[in-house]
Structure formats: structure tokens, C-alpha cells
């Protein structure tokens, strides 16, 4: 079941905001509603479900309503209509006390401008959420210290926020959000105020933290590269409405409309797409087969190389057609003529890294998982096709290495 679900979640700003709802039902645009009623549509009937352990990215340009949307989830902004379900419970029906408990225990938040309390030390900032819960002083100090260690700031506990750099301040913000071990972490443009290098580090660290902690994270950003980099699911917003929800590949490869298409066209795909996006099925052979079989196989398929693997699909080497004919002439086995140092890479290698490997080798790059098993191969033609914006190429077709 989804941990958070939004159903026709709507926020309209202005006096008598309910007036705008029938107009939205009629499909009026944000501009038209404003022109007629002076009401500003913040979020227009957003529907989505967030699975537990996912990083759900809400992305859009400024003014698209993404910051409003995330605040509707913990009712920092009161929704006009619709539903927010947390594990099936309607957040909008919570009493003030229930809402406080929900915010204290279930849903943490990290802010764009850090929003650290300047009169409190780092550790006092981190334990704020625990303190308002009334957790005993020693216990909460202990919990806060482990959150501090988690973000790599041990030793800074008695500093004040203004003594830290931006990146360090946001680590404190992150630790404060994580200190009470919430089920969901809301991150509102959490890295947008950081400079690009620090930002990339923070993204890496977030992904690393995520692989350990498996939090459900709702991440707001205006940066598509950031969204593609960290998101499991991405919801793209425009004028308060969600235009498309999908995995990063779906957003890139199957844009739902012209707006999304224009949005994604400037993306540097080589830094977003990974080997697993463009790899094709490898043609393989086991070493017990002779060179003749291999050569015949290559002729039949119209390809110039074969991957030699054992029964467990572990990559042993590559044999080209030329190697195979030599083996036949000299009466050698496949194992004796194959190239053992075939170029290989992990499935999450970025395309721009693959380029370098491919330029130094004639052979396609074998994609190998952590267990050494061959998952597929990447051919230069497929990489170029993907970068040109075509969808994933069919297997086998361009299988002659340049």
C-alpha cells in the first residue's frame, strides 16, 4: 500500500476559495480562474501515491505550486479540498493534537533556506523535534548525536549555525529532519541554496543515506537533472497541476505532452542515462563449444563478436570472428583465443563515462552486475541513438562494433 496518497488535493488562495473548485472541474486554466475570480490556484487537483521507501520528486519551475503541494502534505498550508492519506488515515481530519503527533513522529522536514534556529547550538537544533515531544534529556541527546554522526558532523555539536558553511548547515537541517526517525521526510528544495559541487555531494550522500535507511522521501526541486538523478518517481508540475508522473526514463523517453518535452529537451542525457538504459542483450557462448560453432553462430546472426560466459553467465572474455577463424586454423580452443580483458562497466555507469571506454576500444562494453554476471552490452550506435533522443534501441540490430 502507498504510504502517502493524495486525492484531488487542491489549494486555492484568496477569499472564498471554494468558488474555484467547480471551475477547475470544468478544466479552466489558472490564468482564466484568476481573471474571472481573483482567486489564485496553488495546487490543482493533484493525484498521486507514494510507495514506502521511494524517493518521490516533485519538480517544476518556480510558481508551479510544488512548495505549496509539499506543505499540504503536513498541513503547514491548509488544503482547500481533497484528501491526504497517510497509511490510509486522512491527515485533513486530524485534530490539532493528532496533527502535532503526526508531525512529531511520522513526518520530518528539511527546508530550502535551512531554517536553523540561530540561538540554538547544532545539537540543540537537531534535538528540537525530540524536545517538543517531551523526550528525556539524555535520551534525546543520544538520538540527536547519532543523527549528527549520520550526516558526518560529529564534533560540531556545540557550534552555532552561523559558524557553519551552507553545506554543513543543511546537513544539520537533514539531521534535524531525521532525528526522530520519521517515516516520511519532506525536502523542500533542500539543496537549491547550495553551490553546484556541494549540491552534488549532498545528492550523493542523500542517496547513500537512503540506501541504508530506506526512508520515504518527498523531494521538491526545480532542477531536472537533480530530479532525474535522485528520483524513483518524478511528478512534473505546471500551474499547480501535475502534468506527468513517471520514472526518470519515462519522463525522458515518453514525455506526456509538449510541455514536458520542452522541459526535458535541454537535459544532458549523457549525465542522466546509465548503461542499463541503453544496453542490449548480449549474444553469448559457453567455452565448451568449439570455434567452428562460434563462427557459424556469428555468421547466422550477422555479428562480429561473441561473449564467452560460463554457466552462471559470468563473463570470461570476448571472441571476434577473426579470433575464431584463427582458432580453427591453429586447432585452438575458444578459451585460448578470446580477449580476456574485454571492456566492462557496472549497470549504473553514466553514458558520458562509457564514451571514454568506447573510444579506446573497438569492442562493445559488457555490462556486469555486482556478482560478475553479464547483464548486456552497450554498443556505440545505441549510445548515440539514445543521446539523439530516440527510445531504447532494439537488441542485435546494430551489433557490429565500429
Amino acid at each position: 500500500m502507498a504510504i502517502i496518497e493524495a486525492k484531488r488535493l487542491t489549494k486555492v488562495f484568496g477569499t472564498d476559495p471554494k468558488k474555484a473548485i467547480p471551475l477547475m472541474d470544468k478544466g479552466w486554466s489558472k490564468e482564466k480562474i484568476f481573471a474571472e475570480t481573483k482567486l489564485t490556484v496553488g495546487v490543482n487537483q493533484a493525484d498521486f501515491a507514494i510507495e514506502e521507501g521511494q524517493i518521490f520528486v516533485i519538480m517544476g519551475l518556480s510558481g508551479s505550486g510544488k512548495s505549496t503541494l509539499v506543505r499540504l502534505l503536513n498541513r503547514l498550508i491548509e488544503p482547500t479540498s481533497g484528501q491526504v492519506l497517510f497509511n490510509g488515515t486522512d491527515v485533513l481530519r486530524m485534530s490539532p493534537e493528532q496533527l502535532r503527533q503526526f508531525r512529531r513522529k511520522n513526518i520530518g522536514m528539511v527546508f530550502q533556506k535551512f531554517a536553523l534556529f540561530p540561538h540554538r547550538t547544532v545539537i540543540q537544533n537537531i534535538e528540537y523535534g525530540l524536545e517538543v515531544q517531551g523526550i528525556d534529556k539524555n535520551k534525546r541527546r543520544e538520538m540527536a548525536m547519532s543523527a549528527l554522526e549520520l550526516v558526518g558532523l560529529a564534533g560540531w555539536e556545540n557550534s552555532y549555525p552561523d559558524q557553519l558553511s551552507g553545506g554543513m548547515q543543511q546537513r544539520v537541517g537533514l539531521a534535524r529532519g531525521l532525528a526522530s526517525d520519521p517515516d516520511v521526510l519532506l525536502m523542500d528544495e533542500a539543496f537549491s541554496a547550495l553551490d553546484p559541487l556541494i549540491r552534488k555531494d549532498m545528492q550523493d550522500e542523500l542517496l547513500e543515506l537512503q540506501s541504508k535507511m530506506k526512508k520515504t522521501i518527498v523531494f521538491i526541486t526545480h532542477d531536472l537533472n537533480e530530479a532525474l538523478r535522485i528520483g524513483d518517481q518524478i511528478a512534473l508540475m505546471k500551474d499547480g497541476a501535475i502534468v506527468q508522473i513517471g520514472s526518470p526514463e519515462e519522463i525522458l523517453m515518453q514525455p506526456a505532452n509538449k510541455y514536458v518535452e520542452r522541459f526535458v529537451e535541454d537535459v544532458d542525457l549523457s549525465k542522466v542515462l546509465t548503461a542499463s538504459h541503453v544496453m542490449v542483450k548480449a549474444e553469448t557462448i559457453t567455452p565448451d563449444k568449439g570455434p567452428r560453432v562460434a563462427l557459424q553462430f556469428m555468421r547466422d546472426r550477422g555479428i562480429s563478436s561473441l561473449y564467452v560466459v560460463d554457466k552462471g553467465m559470468r563473463l570470461l572474455g570476448v571472441v571476434t570472428a577473426e579470433d575464431a577463424s584463427n582458432a580453427i586454423k591453429n586447432g585452438l580452443k575458444l578459451e585460448e583465443v578470446m580477449v580476456r580483458e574485454a571492456p566492462s562497466a557496472a549497470p549504473d555507469t553514466m553514458l558520458h563515462e562509457l564514451f571514454e571506454m568506447m573510444s579506446s576500444s573497438k569492442l562493445p562494453v559488457g555490462i556486469i552486475d555486482a556478482g560478475g554476471r553479464l547483464k548486456g552490452i552497450v554498443i556505440k550506435g545505441a549510445v548515440l541513438a539514445a543521446l539523439a533522443g530516440n527510445s531504447t534501441p532494439e537488441a542485435g540490430e546494430h551489433h557490429e562494433s565500429a
Partner: protein, 278 residues
């Protein structure tokens, strides 16, 4: 067309009489509490030998401020003692501290209410304007009616004149707490009072202290007026000197007020600065 004059004066006098008749026990209670507070403070201040009190004040100035501050306190208070104005100055100090203390006790909570509710702020602001601009002499009369002559109506009129800065700056200080910090406090599930005591008041403290400083200064500026309705102290010396045309005596007493004002002002300023750098 000749409109009849609105009988505002009659209404006010009717209201004054009504209040006097119906709220007599309340006024009596206030009279006793305020009178006892000033009297008690005065007794304590005058019971301690001047020399020891001067050393205590000097030590306090040295602790809070710097050596220059301590030196000024030492020399200034010796001068007051030397001029023979010591016990009168202590009477004035008792009056000022009582008025300031009561102003803070009522002013800070009212300021907090103003910060929390736009409606309260809209009601309170014009009342504060009224209190600050209505000439003090005008409310000396009802103060005498309700509390009779002496130090109590002096304290009450000082409070009326001096409380607005504490209210205004408490309100301002809380409202100036950045909204993203308030939002963060909300996001972590703070109750309104947790938010107030853990975030808003600590961050507003320098501004509130500036308000308290202003309140002390304004109540000090009321001591001469208060002496016209029977409050004792250096103010009474000034008043008497003026009515008898004795420039020299007036100047001496006035100087005592100035010295007291500078000491109180610098001490509270230092407290603000310490808060800011902490």
C-alpha cells in the same frame, strides 16, 4: 447650522464618578500593592548604607559592562551622595523600578497577545497612541481621584506613560522572527507555547529589552510630574526649586536624575548587547 456642543467633559466626569463608586475595592487593592512595593523597595534601598550600595552598584556595572561604566557609576553615585540627595534619589529609584517592573509584567504579555492576533494589535495600537500623546497632566487628576495623593498615582501615571514601548517592541520582536523559522517550529509539531518559549521569545529578547530600556527611561522622565501629586524624591526637589526660583538647587537635583538615567540606560543597554552576542 449651530450644532449643540457634545457634552464630552460631562460624560468623562460621570464615568470618573461611576468608576470611583463601583471599583473602589479594586483601586484600594492597587493602592496597597503599589504603595507597599514602592515603600518596601525604598526602605531596603535606604536601609543599606550609601557607601555599600555604591559599591554594589559599581560591582554590578563592572560585571555587566566595562570598567568605564563602573567608574562612571562610582563617581556619579558619590556625587549624588555628596550633594545630599542620596535618600531622595533612592526614593526616585524605588518609584522608577516599581513602575518599570509593573510595566514589564503587564506589557510583555500584552505585547505577546498583540503579536499573536491581528485583531488585538488593531485594538491595542490606538490605545497606546492615546496613552503616549495625551498630556500626562490630564490623567493626573483621575489618578488622584482613584488613588488619592502620594506616590501611588505617580507610579500609575508613570506606567501609563511608560508602558507602550514594552508592548510595542515585544509585539515587534515576536513578529520579526523569520517566518521560515516559525514554519520549521510548526513542522516539528510544536505547541503554541513551545513555539513561544523555545523560539519566539528568545529571538525577540534583544528587541524586548530595548523596549524595557525605553520604558525605564520614560518612567524616569515622569518623576518631576509625579512629584506634583505628592510623590517624594529628587523630582520633588526639582519641582520645589522651580516654584521657588532656585536655579542652583534645581540644577543639583536635575543632575542627580541625569546620573541615575545614564546608569540605568547603560546597564540595560549592556544586557541587550550581551544577549545579542550570546
Amino acid at each position: 447650522m449651530n450644532l449643540p456642543k457634545i457634552p464630552l467633559a460631562d460624560w468623562i466626569e460621570w464615568l470618573e464618578a461611576w468608576l470611583e463608586n463601583h471599583l473602589e475595592p479594586l483601586f484600594e487593592l492597587i493602592r496597597i500593592v503599589v504603595g507597599e512595593t514602592v515603600g518596601g523597595l525604598e526602605t531596603v534601598l535606604n536601609a543599606i548604607p550609601p557607601l555599600i550600595l555604591i559599591l554594589i552598584f559599581t560591582a554590578l556595572a563592572w560585571y555587566i559592562g566595562k570598567w568605564r561604566m563602573a567608574l562612571f557609576t562610582l563617581v556619579g553615585l558619590f556625587l549624588i551622595d555628596n550633594l545630599g540627595l542620596w535618600s531622595q534619589t533612592m526614593q526616585t529609584l524605588a518609584l522608577v523600578l516599581t513602575a518599570a517592573f509593573i510595566s514589564v509584567i503587564f506589557g510583555v504579555p500584552v505585547g505577546i497577545l498583540c503579536a499573536r492576533s491581528g485583531t488585538v494589535q488593531k485594538i491595542v495600537t490606538p490605545v497606546l497612541d492615546f496613552m503616549q500623546t495625551m498630556p500626562a497632566f490630564v490623567y493626573l487628576l483621575p489618578a488622584i481621584t482613584f488613588f488619592s495623593l502620594g506616590v501611588v498615582p505617580g507610579v500609575i501615571s508613570s506606567i501609563i506613560f511608560a508602558i507602550p514601548p514594552t508592548i510595542r517592541l515585544t509585539n515587534l520582536g515576536i513578529r520579526q522572527v523569520p517566518s521560515e523559522l516559525v514554519e520549521a517550529a510548526d513542522a516539528f509539531g510544536s505547541t503554541p507555547s513551545q513555539k513561544l518559549f523555545k523560539l519566539q521569545l528568545p529571538l525577540a529578547m534583544p528587541t524586548i529589552m530595548a523596549g524595557i530600556n525605553q520604558t525605564i527611561m520614560l518612567s524616569l522622565s515622569m518623576v518631576v510630574i509625579a512629584s506634583m501629586i505628592g510623590a517624594q524624591g529628587v523630582g520633588a526637589y526639582v519641582y520645589r526649586a522651580v516654584t521657588q526660583g532656585k536655579t542652583g538647587v534645581g540644577f543639583e537635583a536635575g543632575l542627580a536624575i541625569v546620573i541615575l538615567a545614564i546608569i540605568l540606560d547603560r546597564l540595560t543597554q549592556q544586557v541587550i548587547n550581551k544577549k545579542k552576542t550570546a
